[in-house]
């Protein structure tokens, strides 16, 4: 019921977002390095409106857009006095579930569960909602979304993913997030393949004000990774975050390169990398499962960053991924601004997947 009570805050959200969009337009005609400042102000405003719920409201705000666009709402399946749970009903429910990208497996599980409990009954929406949200939340339950910090400095984080999933942007935001929490960060520009990827990360490093290690174009990414860890040890940094070039999980030789990067890093720091984060695009469909499998095998992923969750896509594919590979989602990306990252909250995510604004 807490969700209902929080609805008021929701209503003020659209004004807030239109404000932010207005300021974004202004920002578009100003130099790029000012953009993060603008978005910071906007975030400040949102946080002051809902004390303690900055993250919460941001996530909801983003997912609200999703809902508006998708018009996905299990509640409109129900009439005010309840609806009979029959084949039609279950079919409609299934359609809604599929639209979250969770895949046919989990959608069938949920549908069958609803059928088992409620078939032939006239149901109230709260009951069904609660069932589905709870089940999803259970599926996504995890111990902690925190970065696993190593006992001795530095903690090494390797970031991997397919092309265009949002690795570099996620690293920028993550570095900022960790830097704000008081950690000293070193970035490693390990994407030596894509044109201007190094420059992109350098700009992020400048925004955050942290060190960055770069190699030449087409340099061996493993050597850049090694130098990054070396630098982190040298300057006593808390965390080293290493970027890698985007690669498809089917490119065997490129996947082997990830293994090499891992080995090289562990030569410098014994138990490193401590975290291998797989960046998944929230708009991705069932191929994300294959990505999770491929990258887990080659690079030993420890967690997921679900990027681009501010769009109309819901990212429901993390459900089967969680089920099959026990890979927890650690962070969610909610936009291109420097602060647009949040720690993953299964309860929030589950609610947002199915709930109405």
């Amino acid at each position: 019921m807490a969700f209902w009570r929080s609805k008021k805050k929701n209503d003020s959200a659209p004004d807030d977002s239109s404000d932010s969009e207005g300021s974004r337009d202004v920002a578009a005609s100003e130099p790029a390095d000012e953009t993060p400042q603008v978005s910071k102000e906007v975030d400040g405003a949102a946080e002051s409106q809902s004390p303690g719920g900055g993250l919460f409201s941001k996530m909801r705000q983003s997912l609200q857009k999703t809902r508006r666009a998708l018009n996905t709402d299990i509640r409109d399946l129900f009439k005010s006095e309840g609806r009979l749970v029959d084949e039609d009903f279950l079919g409609e429910l299934f359609a809604r579930l599929i639209r979250t990208d969770m895949g046919t497996g989990p959608a069938e599980t949920i549908r069958d569960d609803v059928a088992k409990r409620f078939r032939g009954r006239v149901v109230h929406l709260e009951e069904i909602l609660e069932t589905i949200t709870q089940q999803t939340q259970l599926m996504l339950q995890q111990e902690s979304a925190e970065i696993q910090m190593s006992e001795s400095k530095p903690t090494v984080i390797l970031v991997v993913g397919v092309n265009g999933s949002g690795k570099t942007t996620s690293i920028g935001k993550l570095a900022n997030h960790l830097s704000k929490a008081g950690h000293k960060i070193v970035l490693g520009a390990g994407d030596t393949f894509r044109a201007a990827a190094v420059e992109q990360l350098t700009i992020w490093a400048g925004r955050i004000g942290c060190d960055i290690v770069t190699g030449k174009h087409e340099a061996d990414p493993a050597s850049v990774a090694f130098q990054t860890v070396d630098k982190a040890v040298e300057i006593g940094a808390d965390i080293a975050i290493i970027d890698t070039a985007g690669r498809l999980q089917t490119q065997t030789n490129l996947m082997q390169e990830l293994d090499k990067i891992r080995r090289v890093i562990s030569k410098k720091v014994d138990d490193a990398p401590h975290e291998v984060l797989l960046v998944l695009d929230a708009t991705a469909g069932q191929n994300a499962i294959s990505q999770a499998r491929g990258f887990s095998e080659a690079a030993g992923c420890t967690g997921i960053v679900l990027a681009k969750l501010d769009g109309s896509a819901k990212g429901g594919v993390v459900l089967p991924i969680r089920e099959q590979f026990q890979l927890p989602v650690k962070f969610v990306g909610l936009g291109e601004g420097i602060d647009d990252i949040a720690q993953f909250d299964p309860a929030m995510f589950a609610k947002a997947l199915f709930a109405q604004s």
């Binding site: 092309n163 949002g166 201007a196 992020w204 498809l248 991705a284 990505q291 896509a313 291109e336």
Partner: protein, 491 residues
């Protein structure tokens, strides 16, 4: 999940074969599998529903229900319907005869717009047209630099204004410059944006209005899921798209989103991106895409891939050798070396219809090791031995095994396998693709191909399953029969 639709249907209808007629109920089960397969391929739900309505109508007709092989009929219907929807093909860029043709690329973040800019430039350059690129992505850090690097790599001019934060102005100025310089094509690389971000969509509309591009292409990530209908719909609504380019199809994504995009926008699909290099942009083929969505392999693509690896002259030489029976272990080695590149065999197998199940086996370390061992063993033979393996006696065998660092049975297995393969290869050479596929199937059935890793070459299977004399004779008879058949086919 099923390896592919065909197998799924086959198993669904299996219980019926030989027993009686297919009922409508059975067919509904089959259709359920089709639906599930499409959803697994990331076709959006409403599109699947629509599609299934068409297919069901046809599938429940008498002809299919009474057919001897209902699953094949059903796959055929689904396949035809897919090709029907995905077509027609139009991969022309519709360049104007006078003045610059302006092409605008748009899409979500990370869909591959900037890379596609480079690929389109390469394509135009190959036709002798020099395009100009305009860096209108002012959102992402270093996007301008990325386009400059691409421009330099391809020797194509890139227009940018690093200090101007107004993409509309940048595009206008870029087009003006292109006109002044007489460029025939201008490609606008716009910033990635969410379809639900009204401000940024309005910006895109503004560019559309002020610059008036001749062609607007939506770039879609091949891995997109259910959201494809929403984003493609929104882009189409604000921009009136002229075409779609789907990227990242070199992986194992089934690309069902393309069906959704086509369904929503109705515009032709122009190209598909199949790699990171600039020449990896192919004109769209609905047939290939349909097989891909249904996970049935793509024989045309496989053939192309094969041609890419082996050049024409070499291939002809090999085929001549195969046909004349002069095919030696040395040629065999050369062939192996060609295909032993990591990931390659797996890819080929994945593209071949019905061979999907070998993909993983071929990609494994073990397979690569097996091929290395085989090559090593051949390397340890003298030229005479390679030409005529029959001269290899026990002594020579031991020498070869020692030289290659393998056990002697590996060598004997290799020779045995080669002797079996040789006549088959002779039969295979000089035939059309269809005939070869039939032969491959025969080979598969005969058990020769059952172990694609050729681990049979290593040692005998460790299961302790030794063939009895009777079984050996039976196998021999089968082989002979196959040889006879081949000869007959040849005539």
């Amino acid at each position: 999940m099923f390896e592919n639709l065909s197998e799924g249907l086959q198993s669904a209808f299996k219980s019926l074969s030989g027993k009686g007629k297919l009922t409508e109920g059975n067919m509904r089960d089959g259709l359920e599998i089709v639906q599930k397969s499409l959803l697994e391929a990331d076709v959006s739900y409403p599109v699947v529903q629509d599609f299934m309505a068409h297919v069901s109508e046809k599938a429940l007709g008498k002809r299919v229900l009474l057919s001897l092989r209902p699953h094949e009929e059903l796959v055929q219907i689904v396949n035809d319907e897919l090709i029907n929807i995905l077509g027609p093909v139009d991969s022309s860029l519709h360049l104007k005869s006078e003045g610059p043709t302006i092409i605008m690329l748009c899409g979500l973040q990370g869909s591959g717009k900037t890379t596609t800019c480079g690929k389109l430039s390469q394509l135009l350059k190959e036709e002798g047209i020099k395009p100009m690129l305009v860096a209108a992505d002012l959102q992402r850090p270093a996007a301008i630099e990325q386009l400059h690097v691409i421009g330099k790599q391809l020797d194509v001019p890139v227009y940018s204004e690093p200090d101007n934060k107004n993409p509309v102005k940048v595009c206008q100025n870029g087009v003006a410059k292109a006109k002044a310089e007489g460029a025939r094509v201008v490609i606008l690389d716009t910033a990635g944006r969410l379809a639900i971000d009204e401000e940024l969509m309005a910006e895109l509309q503004k560019i559309d209005k002020k610059v008036g591009p001749d062609q607007v292409y939506l770039v879609v990530d091949g891995m997109t899921g259910q959201d494809a209908v929403n984003s493609a719909g929104a882009f189409n609504e604000s921009l009136e798209l002229n075409g779609v380019i789907m990227t990242k199809l070199d992986g194992d994504a089934r690309g069902g989103a393309l069906l959704s995009v086509k369904h929503v926008t109705g515009v032709p699909i122009k190209f598909i991106g199949t790699g990171e290099h600039f020449d990896a942009l192919e004109p769209f083929r609905p047939e290939g895409m349909a097989s891909r969505i249904l996970q049935m392999g793509d024989i045309v693509q496989a053939a192309r891939e094969a041609h890419r690896i082996v050049d024409e002259a070499e291939r002809e030489e090999l085929e001549a050798k195969m046909a004349s029976g002069d095919f030696t272990l040395d040629d065999f080695k050369k062939m192996m070396e060609k295909v032993a590149k990591p990931g390659l065999m797996g890819k080929m197998m994945g593209l071949m219809p019905g061979m999907g199940q070998f993909k993983d086996a071929m990609e494994s370390e073990e397979a690569a090791g097996g091929i290395r061992q085989t090559i090593g063993a051949i390397n340890s033979m003298t030229m005479a031995e390679r030409k005529n393996p029959k001269v290899i006696d026990a002594q020579r065998r031991t020498r070869i095994a020692q030289g290659a660092g393998v056990q002697t049975p590996v060598v004997s297995q290799l020779i045995k396998q080669f002797e079996v393969m040789k006549p088959l290869m002779a039969g295979m050479a000089g035939k059309g693709v269809g005939d070869r596929m039939a032969m491959m199937k025969q080979l598969q059935g005969s058990g020769v191909m059952n172990d694609p890793t050729m681990s049979g070459l290593k040692t005998k299977q460790s299961t302790g399953k030794r063939l009895s004399k009777k079984e050996r004779e039976k196998m021999k008879r089968q082989r002979e029969k196959m040889k006879r058949q081949l000869k007959r086919n040849k005539k």
